[in-house]
């Protein structure tokens, strides 16, 4: 017994190559064994994570970034994925542990105490039925069983303060659903920090967040690194995030490291062709270019929205009646010319998706008018609306969720076409094939199911499906937000090509200004249900007026470590649309807030030709 114990001890104890490193990966191979054969998720990966540095891993989805993190924690499902070869050493000062050989009880002590992890979806990483304080307390209790309750609470509050939560006593007693995504991510960070780990692994910590919140969290990570000298392994697909906060970076592709080095050097002179390609697709997202033939001859308007309102009642029950209403869309008006694109930008929860869906009457409006081709679509009957649907289509953010999982692509594509008798039955097959080809899909995909495709291909399928109905107007509801950067460029190019070919009109909804720029002719910025600035894309990008628009611009991450733009960090997150105070809606977060902003609601005023803003700062100009 004692012999065996000794033997297993020596198997996982090891020596660091360089004592200044916190973690060393050496020739790590992690394979997945699936029904369709072996997948080499990590194929001989070696890199070091030096103490007190932020190391970023960048790559497209499926390149093995997350598996790298899971291998370090040994959190892979043993029956599916296993680290076959190599060493992952973690520095414990007096000794080092090779986590690959470490037995389960050793790993349990390492996780949480020596290394901790934060995930992409903060809201789902927290347990919804426990209070925040309780969840943090649990972690301390596990690793410091002898600590007193009061001591634990102090430690928890201290951590909450550290991650920038000012009302820590309140938050201590809250449930996760009462907090916004950004706050949840802060809590996750606090939980990760609570046992003073040697390393924090952040797996896409800001991908699910708004641009403005992303800026906040990244700032927080940087601040923590400087203050606590903490080591962070940052996993992301966004070069902008890496450029802004990481010290060293690793570029991964298909389970291998293609390039590693300091962020500055790699951005200055990328060596590997793949890195160059990645940088270029990012550069596209940054390059300012004017659309050919912008502001052309007079066009008729296809869609007119005036004073559109959509309120959601907060339902109560027998005992307590409803607490009022949420004004998701509050007096939105705009006109859309045929063949042009309007970009609708705002944080999540600002009502941009609701606007899109209310226009299509997927949600019933509360008030206002929607004229489509001169017809008030809020008044047509259900059957007429069903026929009208071919003319107005929608593309969703998550292409996987909007394809029926149990239907083949062929069935999905044909269904609506058949329902509306777009083409005669005999031509159906050739018509579908033509549509698929137009969207860059092969005909042989027809017999496959949605889950067999990549994100980009799925979005192409969704576009092809929408296009097959011969629409005139398409609402694109964040069509590229869920995609990799390189895919984004392709999909946006496709949308632009199709617009030209079929003379389509788009309402392009996004939370990211940089995406909207290329495709839009006009841009509208939305905040808490209202449009606060609208104008030609050029004008908005050249001269943003509203303080909120300016903040949005500053939140764009520039993939260049030398250009660390002065970020305007918005103080608070939006609480809820239902709690909007009197006066300007943005007053609580505005850095230029004056007395009048608190008293009077600003109205739209034209500053330049076609460029309107809703802010008191420009009163009388």
């Amino acid at each position: 017994m004692s012999f065996r114990k000794k033997n297993s001890r020596s198997a996982y104890l090891t020596v660091m190559k360089d004592p200044d490193n916190i973690v060393e990966f050496e020739n790590v191979h992690t394979y997945f064994f699936t029904d369709s054969g072996m997948v080499k998720a990590m194929n001989g990966i070696s890199f070091d994570i030096p103490k007190g540095k932020i190391v970023g891993i960048v790559g497209e989805s499926g390149c093995g970034k997350t598996v790298t993190a899971l291998s370090l924690f040994q959190l892979l499902d043993r029956s599916e994925g296993q680290t076959i070869k190599g060493q992952i050493r973690i520095n414990m000062e007096s000794h080092a542990v090779n986590v690959i050989n470490a037995p389960a009880h050793v790993m349990q002590k390492l996780r949480g105490k020596q290394m901790s992890m934060i995930f992409q979806e903060p809201a789902t990483s927290l347990n919804p039925v426990f209070r925040i304080g309780c969840q943090m307390d649990e972690v301390i209790k596990l690793h410091h069983p002898k600590m007193y309750k009061k001591e634990r609470k102090n430690r928890t509050l201290e951590m909450l303060e550290l991650v920038g939560i000012t009302n820590k006593e309140e938050v201590y007693k809250m449930y996760p659903h009462e907090l916004s995504g950004g706050m949840c991510q802060r809590i996750m960070l606090a939980i990760a920090l609570v046992c003073h780990p040697r390393i924090i692994v952040a797996d896409e910590p800001t991908t699910a967040l708004d641009v403005t919140t992303q800026a906040q969290i990244l700032d927080l990570l940087l601040e923590l690194k400087n203050k606590l000298n903490i080591t962070i392994l940052l996993i992301t697909h966004d070069l902008g995030v890496i450029a802004q906060i990481a010290d060293e970076m690793i570029v991964m592709k298909d389970g291998s490291v293609v390039e590693k080095g300091s962020v500055k050097e790699i951005f200055k002179s990328p060596q590997h062709p793949y890195t160059v390609q990645l940088m270029r697709s990012h550069a596209f997202a940054e390059k300012h270019f004017v659309k050919i033939g912008s502001f052309p001859e007079k066009k008729d308007s296809i869609l007119e929205v005036s004073h559109l309102k959509k309120y959601f009642p907060q339902r109560g029950n027998f005992i307590s009646p409803g607490k009022g209403i949420v004004k998701a869309v509050d007096d939105v008006s705009f006109t859309l010319k045929r063949g042009t694109t309007l970009g609708l930008v705002g944080e999540s929860g600002c009502g941009k998706s609701t606007t899109g869906r209310t226009i299509l009457r997927l949600l019933e409006k509360t008030d206002g008018n929607i004229f489509f081709n001169g017809q008030d679509i809020s008044k047509v009957s259900a059957e007429q609306l069903r026929l009208l649907r071919t003319k107005m289509q929608i593309i969703f953010q998550d292409p996987y969720a909007c394809l029926s999982p149990r239907l083949t692509i062929d069935e999905i594509m044909k269904e609506a076409v058949r329902e509306h008798n777009i083409v005669p039955k005999i031509e159906l097959d050739t018509y579908i094939s033509a549509m698929m080809r137009a969207c860059g899909l092969q005909e042989s995909y027809k017999q496959r199911y949605p889950h067999e495709f990549s994100g980009g291909q799925r979005q192409r399928i969704c576009i092809a499906r929408a296009l097959a109905l011969r629409p005139e107007f398409i609402v694109c509801d964040e069509p590229v937000s869920a995609l990799d950067i390189s895919m984004r460029t392709q999909i946006i190019n496709l949308l632009q090509d199709l617009q030209e070919k079929y003379h389509l009109t788009y309402l392009f909804i996004s939370h990211d200004l940089s995406v909207v720029e290329h495709i839009s002719d006009t841009v509208a910025i939305m905040y808490l249900g209202s449009i606060i600035e609208i104008g030609a894309t050029e004008d908005i990008f050249r001269n943003p007026l509203h303080p909120y628009t300016k903040a949005l611009f500053s939140a764009i991450l520039i993939p260049d470590p030398d250009v660390k733009g002065k970020r305007i960090i918005l103080k608070e997150n939006i609480l809820s649309s239902s709690l909007s105070p009197s006066g300007c809606k943005f007053q609580t977060r505005c850095i230029k807030c004056t007395e009048i902003c608190k008293m009077k609601t600003p109205v739209m005023q034209e500053i330049e030709k076609g460029h309107m803003v809703c802010c008191h700062l420009y009163d009388g100009k």
Binding site: T34, S36, L360, P405, T408, A416, S444, R465
Partner: protein, 315 residues
């Protein structure tokens, strides 16, 4: 790269036939169906034929001489022999023969009841779940009402009504089928509704609506296929339950009446402790057959569920 692409239907069939467990189940079910539906050709006896004890020589002589009146006795609980392969039951009837005839009723009954409950349950559940609001409230309260009816007293009353009208065996079985089907669908409706409530919120339904797909196609083509795994599980579990509850109802006088046989009926002899402990051949065969049938349906159902799941790998 371009392999010959299998159509989805061919793929399902291929996956099902490759599944060893499902094939075992299929084999079992085939055997059982053959046994019950073709077995009557092989057995020389009738379903309700009663056998008498063989008379001893003395008795024969006495009978011939008319010395005294000989009362022939039913050959009750006779152990398996070459004459009665599985022996005779408490009424002196051949157990093997009764298994064959009883199986027909049990299988037909369970399959038709399950089919009925799935049909009603799915239709009501999916309409309630998809349309929501007051339709949902109305349908679900209706389900609650159905659930509130105390079933056993109701069955007894219905049984005695049928007795009053002196309905014959065939009609009684049809009625039993109807009654069971009409009172069992509520569980299915609840499960289907719950599933559809969550599926309805998914974006592919919004996408279908946005494409102007008719409501009935939305339910039929997009929602129901996603509930199939749950339906298969309910169906396979309920097949066994129905066979057994038929026995309960028969016992209460609603179901299959003596002299007709059913597996559940035959299994019910175990409520006599003496029979259970002393005459194993009376109830073990019926129990085994019910067990094998349920097992077979489970295997096939499981295989079907896996084969229908598009996310399974091709190989």
């Amino acid at each position: 790269m371009e392999k010959n692409v299998l159509s989805p239907k061919m793929l399902i069939r291929k996956r099902l036939f490759r599944n060893k467990l499902a094939m075992t189940g299929m084999f079992l079910l085939t055997l059982i169906f053959l046994f019950t539906f073709l077995g009557s050709i092989l057995t020389p006896y009738g379903e309700t034929e009663v056998f008498r004890t063989t008379e001893t020589k003395e008795q024969e002589v006495a009978k011939a001489e008319c010395k005294y009146k000989v009362i022939s006795v039913n050959s009750v609980y006779e152990p398996p022999s070459s004459k009665h392969l599985l022996g005779t039951d408490g009424n002196g009837m051949d157990i093997l023969t009764r298994l064959i005839y009883g199986g027909r009723i049990s299988l037909l009954l369970s399959i038709s009841v399950v089919a009925m409950e799935l049909l009603i349950g799915t239709v009501i559940g999916s309409i309630a779940g998809y349309l929501g609001k007051w339709v949902d409230a109305l349908f679900m309260r209706f389900v609650d009402i159905i659930n509130c009816i105390p079933s056993l007293p109701l069955y007894i009353i219905l049984g005695s009504i049928m007795d009053y009208y002196k309905l014959d065996g065939g009609i009684r079985i049809c009625m039993l089928c109807l009654i069971l089907g009409l009172f069992r669908w509520s569980a299915v409706a609840r499960i289907v509704r719950g599933q559809i409530l969550s599926l309805r919120e998914q974006e592919f339904i919004v996408a279908a609506k946005a494409a102007g797909i008719k409501t009935r196609h939305c339910i039929g083509r997009h929602l129901i296929p996603n509930v199939i795994p749950q339906l298969i599980i309910i169906a396979t579990m309920d097949l066994g339950n129905v066979i057994l509850s038929e026995a309960t109802l028969s016992f209460l006088g609603l179901g299959v009446k003596y002299p007709y046989a059913s597996w559940g009926n035959m299994l019910h002899t175990v409520n006599n402790i003496y029979v259970m402990t002393n005459y194993w051949f009376v109830w073990i065969p019926a129990g085994t057959l019910i067990f094998l049938t349920v097992l077979g349906f489970h295997f096939v159902g499981d295989g079907l569920r896996e084969a229908l799941d598009p996310k399974r790998k091709h190989t």
